[in-house]
């Protein structure tokens, strides 16, 4: 019998082949847990190589036995497992939970949004974490926030009027808002000059008042003046498009220090990633399509899973993550995010009969006939329509019987029976 080893390194050498085999079979997380627990046990109590081998073997078979068997209707199970808790959600439809000053769509409306793969969520939100330099200092965080927040002239002006006597637009700036958004009067002046509406002048007695002398032709209408005023109102001073509001929040991070991060109303992943001071590795948005565009389909899949899980968790519903993973997998299997429904998974099924069963039966059948489509009757719906056994569970098992073998074993039974009789 081999002796106990208390050194993990030694044991590792002994069972190297087995560990490598397990690494190939097990998911990373489980493998790492196995390794760390083996190490801990070895160092605390000692472990013989053969014992370690048996443990690994047991873990391997336990893992194998825990997987779903081929033939299991996982899609149906997933649908029911999400659908049933979903009925509990309906009672609390359109419930909004505030993250401080924010409203976030949660519950069933948000879930429908995800499954429908909408272009834009109804409440797009980004979580922007900052880099080493900016994350521990509130003022530096504020600096980044100001860089991100989309600021227009109307955000910092207390009033913008048209002076008809002098034919000019009067912009009165709000000092509080200027301070809050971190904008200087000169900046605003430059922006207004860029509009090319006319010469921009500062009031000699009041530096917060700006005049835009309009250059107009002989004839002009009031409508035209209004249009120019609109232009001034919407002129961008700085920031990133679509980010309407930025709020600074703090949390205690793993190191036990207070870290500041930004939460934004509106989402624009592509441009936020380029902002200095932002930690691009930790930026998060709830807009799945943006993630797909910028980071690719795998990231979109991960985001879908996370968002769906978050919605269910928030409602206190315990749905196994594997059901959600299946839904996300189906949605992203083609390389782009498809919705579950007419313009996605259901409407793009390869079988014409399945599509006809989904909606617009006659139109779908006519269209399929015109295109000369072939139905291989492999799916569930098609099989039911054609009156065949469905290819799920017992129905997908193919059994063959060997007649020659039957004869052989029958002779065996006869011999046994006669032998028993004697």
């Amino acid at each position: 019998m081999s002796s106990l080893l208390t050194s993990w390194e030694e044991l590792k050498k002994e069972i190297h082949d087995m560990l490598e085999y397990a690494r190939g079979k097990l998911p990373k997380r489980i493998y790492e847990e196995l390794e760390s627990k083996l190490q801990k046990t070895t160092e605390e109590y000692g472990l013989a190589p053969e014992e370690a081998r048996k443990i690994i073997e047991y873990v391997l078979s336990e893992y194998e036995y825990s997987m779903v068997e081929p033939g299991e209707p996982v899609g149906t199970v997933a649908a029911q497992s999400i659908g049933e808790p979903g009925t509990q959600m309906t009672l609390r439809t359109f419930h909004y939970a505030g993250i401080r000053e924010f409203n976030v769509t949660l519950g069933l409306p948000r879930f429908i949004e995800l499954v429908d793969a909408r272009r834009e969520p109804s409440t797009p939100i980004m979580y922007i974490y900052l880099d080493e330099e900016h994350k521990y200092d509130e003022n530096k965080a504020k600096e980044v926030a100001r860089r991100i927040e989309y600021t227009r002239v109307s955000n910092v002006a207390s009033e913008i009027d048209i002076d008809l006597v002098n034919l000019r637009i009067v912009v009165r700036l709000d000092p509080v808002m200027l301070e809050d958004k971190g904008v200087t009067v000169d900046q605003v002046k430059k922006v207004l000059e860029k509009l090319k509406l006319g010469k921009v002048e500062q009031d000699p007695s009041d530096p917060l008042t700006l005049y835009i002398q309009l250059e107009l032709g002989e004839s002009f209408s009031l409508m035209e003046l209004q249009k120019r005023r609109e232009k001034v109102l919407n002129a961008k001073i700085k920031g990133i498009k679509k980010i309407r509001r930025v709020i600074i929040q703090s949390m205690t991070n793993e190191e036990g220090r207070i870290e500041y991060f930004l939460v934004t109303e509106g989402s624009n992943l592509k441009e936020v990633l380029n902002v200095p001071g932002v930690d691009p590795k930790r930026v998060y948005t709830n807009n799945i399509h943006e993630i797909e565009e910028v980071l690719g389909i795998e990231a979109a899949r991960a985001a879908l899973i996370r968002e769906m899980k978050d919605v269910l968790d928030e409602q206190g519903l315990d749905v196994d993550i594997r059901h959600i993973i299946l839904v996300a997998d189906i949605m992203t299997a083609t390389g782009r995010v498809r919705q579950i429904g007419r313009h996605g998974v259901s409407g793009e099924k390869p079988s014409p009969l399945a599509r006809a069963a989904f909606e617009m039966t006659t139109q779908n059948l006519f269209a399929a006939a015109a295109r000369g489509e072939v139905d291989k009757l492999k799916g569930i719906t098609e099989s039911v329509i054609a009156g065949r056994v469905i290819g799920v569970g017992t129905g997908m098992v193919e059994v063959r019987m060997n007649p020659a073998q039957v004869v052989k074993s029958m002779k065996g039974v006869e011999k046994e029976a006669s032998g028993g009789g004697n």
């Binding site: 048996k54 194998e64 068997e69 081929p70 033939g71 019987m401 029958m410």
Partner: protein
Amino acid sequence: MFRTSSIFSLGKDLGAGAPSMGEELSIEELKKKIEIGPPWLTRFERARVIGARALQISMGAPVLIDTSSLPKHVREDPVLLAKAELEAEALPMTIVRYTRGGKVQPIPLKWLLILDKLRPH
């Protein structure tokens, strides 16, 4: 000293119940031979085999095991007979497993039954 009786005996031969396929295979070898699906009889396969066999028996097919020692209620029920046949590894059947990619592997029912008996639950 810490030796416990393991459920998985590596490298042991299969004893008296080994397949009459002309070759004696160890459990590990057998496991490796099964390329598609899990190395045991899935519950769907079990149900399908018992169902198919029970239908044959109910229509008069000869039973492939010695029934004289079986209790009366088993002898009179085709499903229970089929079950008994399956457990006795008397069914000369092959399970054809396939993947969506088109790979096909016919697996002797006996192999799956032998491996199935190793399952802890």
